[in-house]
Each structure stands twice: as C-alpha cells, then as structure tokens.
Amino acid sequence: MNRTATMAGARTPAYKAMTWLWRGVATVFIVVTLFPVYWMVQSAFEPNREITSLTPSFFPAHFTLHDFVDAMSRPWFWDDARNSLVVVTSAVVIVLIVAFLAATAVVRFRLRGAKAFLVLVLVVQMVPTTALVIPLFLLLDKYHLTDNYLGLILTYVTLTLPFTIWALRGFVRAVPVDLEEAAMVDGSSRLGAFLRILFPLVLPGLITTGVFSFITAWNDFLYANVIMQQNYHQTLPVWLFSFSTNTGTDYGGLMAGCTIMSLPVVVFFLAVQRRIVSGITAGAVKG
C-alpha cells in the first residue's frame, strides 16, 4: 500500500494513536462478524441442558459430540448428503465447461450480438428464481426429469450459468492472446490453442467461479424441495429445514446440522480465498 506515505506519517504520534483507534474498530468488526459462526459451533458442541439455560455460557465447560451423532442418525441424513454432493458437483463441472466455451467465444471472437448476449446474461439474473419454480417444474415434468438427479443438475447448471459466464469473461480476457497465436503458428488449431494454452491459464478463474456456483447450488432449498419429491432424493438444505420445523427446540442438533452443512463450503472457500478476490476484480475491471 501507500508505503512511503505510511512511513512518513508513522513518525507522528497522532498517526500512531489513530492506528490504535482503527485497530479497536477492526477488532469490534471482527467480533461481530465472527460471532454468529462461533455461536453456531459452540451451540453444536454444547450439551443440551446448557444450551437451554437462562445464562448462556460463552466458553462452554463441557464438550459433547452428542448433537452431531444425533443429527447424523436422523432419517435420510446420509442419503441427502450424498445427493447434495453428487448433484452439486456434477452441476459445477458441467457449468464450468459450458461457461468456459461461451466466455471464450464472446471474448476471443468478434461476434455480432455478443454485447446483446452479455446484457441478456445480466438481465436474466434479475428474474426472481422463486418465480421460475413452477414453469421450470412443469417443463422438467414434461420430460420426466422430476425426482431425478438429471433434472436437478440441469436446473443448477442453468441457474448458475449466467453469472459464471459473466465472471469467467474477465479471466479469459486477462490472458494475452499472443500465447494462443504462438501455438497456432506452431501448427495448433484454434480450438487446440484454446484447450492447451488458454484452459490451463484460466484454471484459477475456473476454480474461483466454480466455488461460486458450488455455493449457489449447495444453498438452494426451493428447487430441490419442488423438483425432488422422495425424502431420500432430497438435498441437505431441505433436510435441514424439515429438521428445524419438526423438532421444536432441539437447537443443539440443529446447530450441529448447520455446522455439517457449512463445513464443505468453508473448506472450499478457504482453499481458494486468495483467488476469489483477485478474480472478482479481474472480472469487474478489465485488466
């Protein structure tokens, strides 16, 4: 950052005092931001009798895995966890392939109507996803794709495709075209250059946007609830919701369920966090 300015300013005591003030503000921000996450985990590990005591303990004295065992042994947990993984992973792989091809076409060629296509991609995101549940359900039903993996996979691919194309465009644009041209001079075809040169260079961007579509699909409650009818075909958010409405005040088990559901997303997120942010700006700013 502003290194010279910081160094010059750091000598004044006023600047130092302000730094401590800002550190204080940052600490408050961190505590407020983390608290819901912390509270979820601590309620999940806390014995039930302590959760429902009138003076909550902020640092629980006892730890128990009882709530996790309880949550996992509830009906359909394993089925629904597997469904979530299979459906969401397949959808992410498909959406990345389709979006990579589309982004390449839009960025690397002068296509008539490419701009219109991009505006369309932006506008399509404004349609409330809640509004499309019924028409999409009727469409899938017509082709016997309800209550089946493929129907839900296709739904998630379509729902995440516009944003993925939009974001990937920036990553493709950031790769200098010279590299592909060099490969073509060496006898590679245009498509070959895309796959051998462009694809590996855009891979970080693919991982970043992949995490986004993973989260969108992993979070979805509405479509899974409508498209998948059997309990053992459902996904984790639906399982969680049935848990929360059926059990009344079993907040320990509920928080354990929430922790389990958050875990894969958090792991993915932390793994790619650096790229996520640089990726967003690369997508937003042309660079």
Binding site: N2, A5, R23, F29, I30, L34, P36, P56, I97, V98, L101, A102, A105, V107, R108, F109, R110, L111, L120, V121, V124, V127, P128, T129, T130, A131, L132, I134, P135, L139, T158, L161, P162, R173, A174, P176, V177, E181, N219, F221, L222, L240, F241, S244, T245, L254, G257, C258, T259, M261, S262, V265, F269, V277, I280, T281, A284, V285, K286, G287
Partner: protein, 342 residues
C-alpha cells in the same frame, strides 16, 4: 492490455477501453466504429471463422434459451392466465387478459409491498455498500496481521450457506434462550423474552442485519482489492498538492474504483431485490407474520400458499420490470463505459 489481444479481432474499436486505466473514455460516450485495414476482405473470412465461436456458444445458448428463456416466457404467459390448482392439474389454459394485473393494481397490497420492498432494498444496499467500503478502507489503513484477521473473519461469515446462516440467526434472536436477548438484558435493557418477530419493523431489522452481515464480506474484499489498484503516486501527488485525505479520496480514488463500485451496487440491488431464503428461513416459513412482505416473497406466497399461480406470476413480472427500471440506467452506463464490452 487491450493491445495485447492483437490480431484475430482485427482492429478492435467498438466496446471499450478499460474504464479503470482510462477514465477519459467515459466522457467520449459512444465512439465511432473504426474498421481497421482489411475491412473489405473480412466479410469473406468471417463466415468460416464464425462457425467455431457459434459452436462454442451453442451449449450455453441452448441451456439459457431452453431452461431459462422458455420458463420466463411461460411466466409472462401465465401472468395473463387464470391458473389455479384446478387448471394446473387438468392442463387447462384459461386466458384471462389483464385480469391479474387489474386485480393487483386495484388492491392496496401492491403499493404497500412496493414501498416496503423499496425501503428494504435501499436499506440493505446502502448499509452494505457503506459498511463494505468503510471496512475496505480500514483494511488498507491497517497492517497485514489485522488485515488477514479481518479477511478470515469475513470469509467465514461469507462462506456460511444462507439456509444454515438464517437458522443460526433465528437461534441468536430466539425469544427465550437467544443470546441477543440475554446480552441486551445483561446491559440493563428489558429484552427478556422479547419476540423479535412480533412486529414487522423489528423483524425487518433482524432480516436486514443478517443480509448486511452476509453481503459485507463480498463488497469489502472486492472494494479492498479495487483500492489496491489505485497507484500510490496518484494519492501522494494529491497530498503534495495539498488535498485533504477526504478530497483526495473523492477526487482521486473514487473515480478510479467507481466502475467496481457501480457494478457491486447493481449486483446488490438485484440480489436484495429478489431476496427469499433469508426472509423465509428466518421467519421459519411463517413469512405472513410480517404483514407486508417484499415482492420476492409475496409472489411466492401468492403462488403457492394461495395457489393463484397466475397472480403470483404477474407479481414476478412486475418485480423484473421494476428491477430493470432501477438497474437499466446503470447497465446503460456500464455498456457505454465498456464494462459490458466483450
């Protein structure tokens, strides 16, 4: 950077230069198309060349057209139909003209929900953008350890699935054992057994707080990396010229990061304007406890709870038109400044 892209596109003239490196182009508005050398022969070459990009674009077009375009068309058609459970099961199509819209505009609900949605979205978006930008500046001001701690905290909050997060927040604000009531009572306020979802104002307060909590990380981290794009010497030059930090921020930093700021605002309006999960989960599926619900939830209730799919569809159509009106201007700006250019 544009120059690096070189030959295959020919002389690229339409579309834009990076809004960030060359803010001057913004004033230029629509620039004339400049056809570089080889304009004449390009037409003949274009045909063969266009097969590959069309093939590359085809899967995306088929998916968007088939699974988004068709249902959107259906949605618009349904908004002109009378479609209840009876018609749905029997596959009857009963065209109803403008009846749904007439019913909406003659009731007071639409106006109330519109007002509520506008207030709600404005509150969410302005709080998110203000907090996010402030946090980004704070990150820039502080050293690396603090910055890492802030990003880590934000990543954890951001990564939490909205379904799980909503349930966790309803636990935080629970009437009897919720920790928020406990803390507020502990500092001497009368919040023991306070029901946050009893009045719509406080319910909206909780929902807004949660949405802002989840949205700030994305905005803050993106704005932070946008701020790092501003060359240091520009700010220093402004300081040497005697500009106060506030003036330097407004006149040097902000113009450079503005494209990102606008994009984030537009995305936030779109996302918050269609918010559903948070309202639905936080109120435990009893969104009706809030007497006036945002449009995104209202159309769902109208469609599913009252099983008037036609009426629900017309609410959805109105929502899209409104979002288009609000964001359309910015989309135009983005197109003109080259942000939507290929």
């Amino acid at each position: 950077m544009q120059a690096l892209r070189g030959l295959p596109q020919g002389a690229r003239a339409s579309g834009g230069l990076p809004g960030v490196t060359e803010p001057a182009t913004r004033q230029a508005g629509r620039r004339p198309r400049w056809h570089g050398p080889g304009t004449v022969s390009r037409r003949s070459r274009r045909f063969g060349r266009n097969l590959l990009p069309i093939a590359l674009l085809l899967p995306a077009l088929v998916l968007i057209g088939g699974l988004l375009g068709w249902p959107i068309g259906q949605l618009v058609a349904t908004s002109f139909q009378q479609l209840g459970l009876f018609e749905l099961i029997g596959h009857h199509v009963v065209w109803d003209g403008l009846a749904n819209y007439r019913q909406l505009f003659s009731s007071s609900e639409l106006g109330a929900s519109l007002e509520q949605t506008a207030l709600f979205v404005t509150a969410c978006v302005s709080l998110t953008m203000a907090t996010g930008t402030a946090v980004a500046l704070l990150m820039k001001r502080l050293g690396k350890p603090m910055r890492t701690a802030m990003s880590l905290a934000m990543l954890l909050a951001w990564a939490m699935p909205s379904a799980a997060a909503s349930i966790v927040w309803s636990w935080l604000f629970e009437t009897q054992w919720g920790v928020v009531n406990y803390l507020l009572s502990a500092i001497g306020l009368h919040f023991t057994n306070h029901d946050w979802f009893a009045s719509s104002l406080s319910a909206y307060g909780v929902i807004t707080a949660m949405i802002v909590w989840q949205a700030v990380p994305f905005v803050a981290l993106t704005m932070y990396s946008a701020f790092t794009l501003v060359p240091d010497d520009l700010a220093e030059a402004a300081a040497v010229d005697g500009a106060s930090p506030a003036v330097a921020f407004r006149q040097v930093t902000m113009p450079i990061v503005r494209p990102i700021f606008v994009l984030l605002t537009v995305l936030s309006v779109i996302w918050d304007g269609n918010v559903f999960n948070q309202v639905w989960f936080l109120t435990g599926g009893r969104a009706q406890v809030i007497d006036v619900v945002p449009l995104g939830v209202w159309q769902y209730i109208e469609a599913f709870a009252s099983q008037q799919y036609g009426l629900g569809s017309s609410v959805a159509v109105i929502t899209v038109l409104l979002l288009l009106m609000v964001t359309g201007y910015y989309i135009r700006v983005m197109v003109r400044t080259g942000e939507v250019s290929t």
